[in-house]
């Protein structure tokens, strides 16, 4: 993954809960469920874990206590979706440096049952709450709140500068829902047309209902270990060929003028060099889709199309399962499940293992995860080692 790594990292196991609404289960129950699935997937036990990274789980200590583990390395991260990529990058570095042998990454979200609205409140997730617009509370009297509105402001400018249309955004929502219709685990499986998309109500104009991700409960776990060890386990290893991060916090109380292009270009340069692949080598894309505009900004920022051309490029159908770059084949956050990046990383692993049934990409070799926000991350997964 980088020039000096001693133990190239790989994903050995992945585990997911069902997705929906589980009022009887809290984040700890959901996280343990996903972790049991991931351990069972690769044939390891809790005793094999010497690293633990948790995301959106209130207490790392309580979680480890409930799991009965005493890791040599523990890290807890805030429930902002950008942290899935950060956690995976960190796990890869911990393993590749030999600091730990086997890391469990566990994410749990009980947001639906907890009534999280992602706007207006001070829950730590809503109102942007520092995630999108770091001084958001100051603007509350003006009615400015929510990550959705932050992206609506960005999209309005993109439409103004480049002539991007609602129909082009709609293609993203329609495509990912069609993919979800092929995924038995997806929360929303009923396909809709572009007309249905346009007829749906506005939430924060120019964004409509289907431009927004779902709100549901669910959890994901990944087991990352050395490629050498992963080869002895139950599943074929999926190799982490590259993982990189950059940020744009300066002035991030307000939407970025460049749609986060600068940090995305830095990450793209880095991650493709690590992986020894270019964008044209990707057999599938997993694009952080909290809102449809993020997908468009990501494709431009990572160089799949020129800045400003995202709308037209997407409308050509490249993201469809039968297109050149099948994207979010699970249905993503928009239609499968709101798992803040984790579900997309698991989908990349399952696609490379060939476990995706009707939505399987034909013989993929490399799949790229990308997340655009004030922290940009990308991970490239490969079926073969470097």
């Amino acid at each position: 993954m980088n020039r000096s790594e001693m133990y190239p990292p790989a994903v050995a196991g992945v585990g997911t809960t069902r997705y929906g609404r589980f009022p009887d289960l809290d984040a700890y129950d959901l996280g343990q469920w996903a972790l049991r699935e991931a351990l069972d997937d690769c044939g390891l036990t809790h005793a094999d874990l010497d690293g633990l990274i948790v995301n959106r789980i209130p207490s790392y200590g309580r979680f480890a206590e409930l799991c009965g583990i005493d890791p040599r390395y523990t890290l807890a991260t805030p429930g902002h979706g950008r942290f899935s990529g950060v956690c995976i990058q960190t796990a890869a570095l911990l393993v590749s440096s030999g600091t730990v042998d086997t890391v469990a990454l566990v994410y749990a979200n009980d947001g639906a049952s907890a009534g999280t609205t992602y706007g207006g409140d001070a829950s730590g997730y809503g109102g942007a709450a520092g995630a999108y617009g770091t001084t958001d509370a100051h603007w509350a009297p003006y009615g400015m709140t929510s990550p959705g509105a932050f992206h609506a402001l960005m999209m309005q400018r993109h439409m103004h500068l480049y002539g991007t249309t609602p129909e082009q955004l709609g293609e993203i929502a329609v495509t990912f829902r069609r993919h979800a219709s092929l995924n038995p685990g997806a929360v929303k499986r009923q396909p809709f047309s572009l007309d249905d998309y346009l007829a749906a109500r506005f939430i924060c104009e120019p964004l409509r209902l289907f431009d927004y991700c779902l709100i549901n409960d669910g959890a994901v776990a990944m087991i990352i270990t050395s490629a050498e060890r992963a080869r002895d386990l139950r599943q074929p290893p999926v190799y982490i060929r590259g993982a990189s991060q950059a940020s744009s916090f300066t002035g991030s109380s307000f939407p970025p003028e460049d749609f986060w292009a600068a940090p995305m270009q830095a990450v793209a340069k880095d991650v493709y060099a690590m992986a020894g692949f270019g964008p044209q080598d990707m057999d599938g894309l997993m694009i952080y889709d909290n809102f449809t505009p993020t997908v468009l900004f990501t494709l431009e920022g990572f160089g799949f199309c020129p800045q400003g051309e995202g709308g037209r490029w997407i409308a050509d159908g490249h993201l469809r399962l039968e297109g050149a770059f099948p994207a979010n084949t699970s249905g993503g956050h928009l239609s499968e499940s709101y798992l803040q990046g984790w579900g997309l990383n698991v989908e990349a692993v399952r696609q490379l293992r060939g476990q995706c049934g009707e939505r399987q990409i034909r013989t993929p070799h490399a799949i790229q995860y990308m997340a655009a926000s004030p922290v940009v991350t990308s991970v490239i997964y490969g079926r073969t080692p470097a």
């Binding site: 809503g126 109102g127 100051h138 603007w139 009297p141 009615g143 709140t145 960005m154 506005f202 002035g251």
Partner: protein, 134 residues
Amino acid sequence: MIDVPMPPDDPANRPHWEAARRSVLLIQRCPACGRCRFPAARSCAHCHHVGGDWIEASGLGVIESFCMFHKAYWPAFQAALPYTVIQVKLREGIRVMSNFVASPGKSPSIGLPVRARFDPVRPDLTLVRFEPHV
């Protein structure tokens, strides 16, 4: 819109809100490098000088973007739906989130010049909103 949510009662920003009640727009400026910033901060993110001066801003700027809320995240905004939030860049180089106030039929647009106006919305809160500046 009477029960709009109050901003955090942050002593650092009190001069701004107190001045708004006198129809004056105060923002912070770094005495060392001259760059403006808002909301208030103890030190400058550019030159790292500690301390800031309050200066009166021109109140003139342009709309950089806007969006229209069709969902009320606070009950107080339910009656105001749909309402518009604008992102304004002031001549002094800083940005603010605000609302657009204009005669019926006049809508916000990107690049539209605007000027600040002061709207008391509660006895203890005056908002800095913007209207077209021709």
